[in-house]
């Protein structure tokens, strides 16, 4: 039973995290001042602008 409860909590947490990520990607898509690359997290993004922006926040 305790395994089921913990599993459900973890799945809910994962769902919340991915949903939030999705929300921010769409949010950045509608904001012309933001770069989507800042949220996509790909290794190639180190060539884009987001690293400097994140460092300076």
């Amino acid at each position: 039973m305790w395994q089921t409860i913990i599993t459900v909590l973890i799945v809910a947490l994962a769902l919340f995290f991915i949903g939030k990520k999705l929300y921010y990607i769409v949010k950045q898509a509608v904001d012309p001042k933001q770069d989507i690359s800042c949220s996509c997290g790909c290794s190639g993004c180190s060539v884009s602008n987001c690293n400097s922006r994140e460092t300076n926040k």
Binding site: T7, Y23, A29, V30, C42, G44, S46
Partner: protein
Amino acid sequence: MAVVAVLYQIVTAEKQTNNNITTSVISKQMSDKSITVALAGNPNAGKTTLFNKLTGARQHVGNYPGITVDHKEGYFNHDGREIVITDLPGTYSLTAYSVEEIVSRDFLTTQRPDVVINIVDASNLERNLYLTTQFLEMGVPLVIALNMMDVAKDRGIEIKFAKLAELLGIPVVPIIARSGKGTDELIRQAIRIADSDKKWIPRDISYGEDLDEVLMEIIAAIEKASFLTERYHARFTAIKYLEHDDQMLTKGQEADQELARQLEQTVGTISDHLLKTMDVYPEAIIADHRYGFIKSIIRQGVMTHKFDTDRLYTSDKIDKVLTNRLLGPLVMLGILFGLYQFTFSWSELPVAWMEGLFSWLGAIVETTLPDGMLKSMVISGVIDGVGGVLGFVPLIMFMFFGIAILEDSGYLARVAFMMDRVFRMFGLHGSSVMPFIVSGGIAGGCAVPGVMATRTLRSPKERMATLLTVPFMNCGAKVPVLVLLIGAFFADHKALYMFLFTMLAWLVALFAAKFLRMTVLKGEATPFVMELPPYRFPTLRGLIIHTWERTWQYIKKAGTVILGISILLWALMTFPGLPQSEQDTFNAARNTITNSYSEAVQREVMDFNDNTDVLSEKALELKNRLKEIEQEESGLTLRNSVAGRIGSFFEPVSVYAGFDWKTNIAMLGGFAAKEVIISTLGTVYSMGDIDVDDADSLGKRLVKDPSWNSVVAVSALIFIMFYAPCFVTVVCIAKEASWKWAFFSMAFNTTFAFFASVLVFQIGNLLG
């Protein structure tokens, strides 16, 4: 997509309310005693290097022109003063000819920074001063940072910077941005100019009798009507009118239609006159006189050459070979193959260690956690799923290290230069090369910055053709999937296959671009001139930082996004489970088999310890029969799950490409992020019905699965390389173009990928 549409609406509403807050924040910043500085200069003059040096930001410095499309902002303190610094895109002029020029000019006129630091490449002084003259014409408070003094010295160029400062009437500070030499003095001078609080006073440069006369006439009309004077000085507006600057003409029409018409008429008259008498346009005369102004300064002893000016510099000598029409491409292919060879051979052992680490972790969880849902999630969802992605960290690290050497040395710019010739044949612009390389042209990039990098293209059709084909490149997320399948099915020639699949990605992308340019995106090609930066010795520190930055992004993504998706996919592969009636059937079968053996044999199997015990023949037979039942049950449970049903739904079609329902689940998961293909396969083969040793790596499990073979692997590799871009790339295409093109990209890529896979699978099967 409905979810995306809802999110879009929520975000748009929130954005509206946020606008007011943003305005108040900006107002507060403006009232502070901080100094705003704009960094401007030609591409490759060292702006980004100086920006990083000053702000401490570890933003990557590439060698290809136009890496910065948007302006970047950073903060630092100097002697207790807060400096807000903006890195403007690299431009050669301030005419509204390219996106970068418009961005830079608009920033200067709308934000009006306290001071502009103009980075000038000392080794290319004359060309770089062309932009400087335009800043002077604009009247911005200016400080010149004379960068790359070391390179200039190596080339035998000596610059008397004090004399240059005197003649230009602005401070000139020699610096070496890479080492930080001279930057303290530069900032001191910038603060001094910013504090002097002078008005923007444009420098008068003569453009010859004809133009000067008209210029005076236009300036008078502009000043009288206060035409656009709230943003631009009258002289600047007048020059832009003479240059037929599209943006200025539009702004003029919007401000005062009648006066704009009069000014255009005046300019038209002088243009006709110049065309008749001298066969030139006013903009050409203006450019000539700007260069004349520069030459007149340089000739006053500002610059002297110690060496023969015709002498070939080291970079030029190297380029004679590396960018040679025949030898260059061969060297390029050799370097690419060498990169893969280096990556695979050096990473083989660390990758095996990682596999061992995750097997060990799995074994620990297996023995410590009791059977149940959590144990299944941790082993199948997390360790076999995310572990599969993390297992490739050493390989990714070696690959990024190799790519960092190519980038930091300046060789990647040569690749772009050589590809430019090929690109024109396929109807693409020279500027398209950079987005292709950023997207993974050498392998290991990302389509998102690649799509954004297409902003440098002015022709909308060339831009669209580039934007739609860059996702065909092998991005950093596809690389581990490619490596997994190549490593499993073509283990003896890993580097060769990786090289061939990279070539295939380029070929398909170029032919797809040609197809688009011949059909939906028909149009003329526009010219392109590319600058080659000098070769540089990469520093070990730089290489380590660049390698680590990218590797860390990979690890971070695996530990966050991929982990989250893996857990959700595990849930989709677990629920709703088997109906009670089917579970009862399996339980009954288990009981029947168990009861057909003696109690002693049953007890032997129940008390069996994997590490120490050896089973009798009968007990082993019982154990294997029970295992068969268990695997059949778990296979059926997976097939009955939500993900299993979706995978099975596509199976009647996907079977033509050789994909069974399990592979379909992975391919669908790959839309979220391509690495998810690995984690999903890891979970599927961990939960499914494949009869393999538990400690086997995913690659070995795939090889042992009868539904996989080398033909299916090639078919899958082709599908993975070319099908719909990941979700973030699709959103990015929608942002950069429109949702229509984003959906087109998904449909076009998936249709092409599927038919290509079917072709490969069917022909492969026919050939045996």
